[in-house]
Amino acid sequence: MNVLAILMIGGVLAVPGVALVALRWASHRGELNLPERAALLPFDEEEPVGRATDQILNRQSAES
């Protein structure tokens, strides 16, 4: 088995390997806890939950 074959097999194993390490890191940081809070991250006071955005079609021409 030459160096390149080792590199290739190592490469194929690297993605799931790194993913497992990252998963462990995330778990230790508490990223997998509090899913309700994480789900709200796209929202804030300016654009809160319950407020739809981007509703522009079939209402009125933006040309006016």
């Binding site: 074959a5 739809a52 522009i56």
Partner: protein, 495 residues
């Protein structure tokens, strides 16, 4: 604050670095993104127009081989890889990077850090790609699918990409929101996966080439992973952000979204070798790839359930939001192309469709139906916010959507069916090969028509964007309809 944090904080614009707990306003973040994001996006859309023109030339040649046959730079063997590379590295990668930059700033809650760095990256990306595409057209293609760009152009692209990755790491390091949203997981993974894929493939195929069938193995490991570990994470990150934002409702199950991400990270990387079913590869390698491909049912199903359940009760909003229309169609295409890909990876199915137009339909359902549609939807949301201007023509938005939607359907459905018929005929020893080729002609002509519809949609989108940008240089007018003011205001205005 540590020394390294102080060093990073010095990169923040203005006085926002003084108080790390102070959140930047969304408008401030959006305005800070304007130049670098627009640079990537406009470049990407110009490459989309070029890629569409090249695609049409290649498509017409498939049923009318004499078309533009007198110029060697427009022969099929050059036009087709030129189309592929302009679309994946010119359009898809650049718009993907543009959307990634904006999403990272929004979710990290920081204004754009070091915009000059990203702008220089965009300039170098376009220089590298221009050199590469011209190289393909003059006959310097490497002949390795998805890596046709000549060796002299790829270091420029790679340098540009390193700048983008450095920017992303700095932004992530400076984030003011410590908790990560699932979109950030996808984006960070994509940013770190792509250079590793690209560098490995370049080294093993072009710089220090491996021999024999290992070349094919590396080639398809790369080509498949570019879709699954570069474009797919960016597309899914966008879907997970924009569907909740537009309908004003959090994602149905955050746990499912996390499960989808980690199962993609664990299984996708093994999928590529199912492209070599029937080839002279060790059978166990193909089998491992097939098993991993079937395991993709886990992330695909979790993502599909999550998106559908989030939209449940809000489908009426599709009527009013261009972003939602494009993104939801993209999400549906993600499910469809993933399930189709799993079927294609099975030996019995692959025996029929492997060397047929079915594969072309599958690739376009993934890269166009899923990724490009999600990018279009994302840009309808992002561009008005970073330019502080509304889209000038709602008619052009509708034209863009319907032309692309119909073009996509006319492209994918007939070619998928035609590919199966083609495969069955090729496997029948009593059918002459010429008869098989003649049997594909109606599907190929329909494909050209579908390409014209897609081109029409692209022209409508770029026309609308040019119109909007022209207004950026004009006097500011207060928005009348609502992207910039929210749905409630829009409803009032609508009355």
């Amino acid at each position: 604050m540590s020394a390294s944090s102080q060093t990073f904080s010095a990169l923040l614009p203005g006085d926002v670095s003084d108080d790390s707990s102070k959140r930047a306003l969304l408008a401030e973040i959006d305005a800070s993104c304007r130049v670098p994001v627009l640079f990537f996006v406009i470049s990407g859309l110009l490459w989309l127009l070029a890629g569409t023109a090249l695609a049409l030339v290649a498509s017409i040649k498939l049923h009318s081989p004499g078309f533009l046959a007198s110029w060697e730079f427009l022969t099929f063997g050059r036009v087709r890889p030129a189309h592929l590379n302009t679309v994946i590295y010119g359009f898809a990668s650049q718009t993907g990077i543009g959307v990634t930059l904006w999403l990272m700033c929004r979710l990290c809650r920081v204004p754009f850090v070091a915009p000059g760095l990203a702008t220089v990256a965009a300039i170098f990306w376009n220089i590298g790609l221009t050199v590469g595409v011209v190289g393909i057209l003059i006959g310097d293609s490497t002949s390795i699918e998805w890596l046709e760009l000549p060796r002299y152009s790829t270091p420029i692209l790679f340098f540009s990409y390193v700048l983008v990755a450095v920017w992303a790491i700095i932004t992530f390091r400076l984030r003011r929101e410590q908790h990560l949203y699932v979109s950030q997981w996808y984006l960070l993974a994509a940013i770190l996966w792509f250079p590793w894929l690209y560098a490995t493939a370049q080294i093993m195929l072009l710089i220090e080439p491996v021999r024999g069938v290992v070349q094919a193995a590396v080639n398809w490991w790369f080509a498949h992973n570019v879709l699954g570990l570069w474009f797919t994470p960016i597309g899914l990150a966008s879907i997970y952000y924009f569907i909740p934002k537009v309908i004003g409702r959090p994602i149905h199950s955050y746990y499912l979204s996390v499960l989808g991400f980690w199962s993609l990270a664990l299984f996708y990387n093994w999928n590529g070798l199912h492209h070599l079913i029937g080839g002279p590869m060790p059978a166990w390698m193909i089998t491992v790839s097939i098993v991993a491909s079937v395991m993709m049912l886990i992330p695909v199903t979790t993502v599909a359930i999550n998106h559908h359940m989030t939209m449940w009760g809000h489908f009426g909003k599709l009527k009013h939001s261009p972003t939602l229309r494009f993104v939801v169609v993209g999400a549906l295409c993600y499910t469809a192309t993933s399930l189709q890909g799993i079927a294609n990876s099975l030996r019995s199915y692959s025996e029929v469709v492997h060397f047929t137009h079915h594969t072309i339909a599958h690739a376009h359902l993934g890269l166009y139906g899923f990724f490009a549609m999600v990018m279009f939807g994302s840009l309808y949301y992002i561009i008005p916010r970073i330019t502080q201007r509304e889209w000038p023509s709602l008619g052009l938005i509708s034209l863009h959507f319907w032309a692309c939607f119909l073009g996509l359907a006319l492209y994918v459905v007939p070619l998928s069916l035609g590919g199966i018929l083609q495969g069955l005929a090729m496997n029948d020893a009593s059918v002459p090969f010429l008869k098989v080729v003649e049997g594909t002609l109606p599907w190929l002509k329909l494909r050209t028509f579908a390409g014209l519809l897609l081109g029409l949609g692209h022209v409508a989108f770029v026309g609308n964007l040019v119109w909007l940008l022209a207004r950026v240089f004009g006097p500011y007018r207060k928005p009348v309809v609502a992207i910039l003011m929210g749905a409630e205001t829009a409803a009032v205005v609508g009355k």
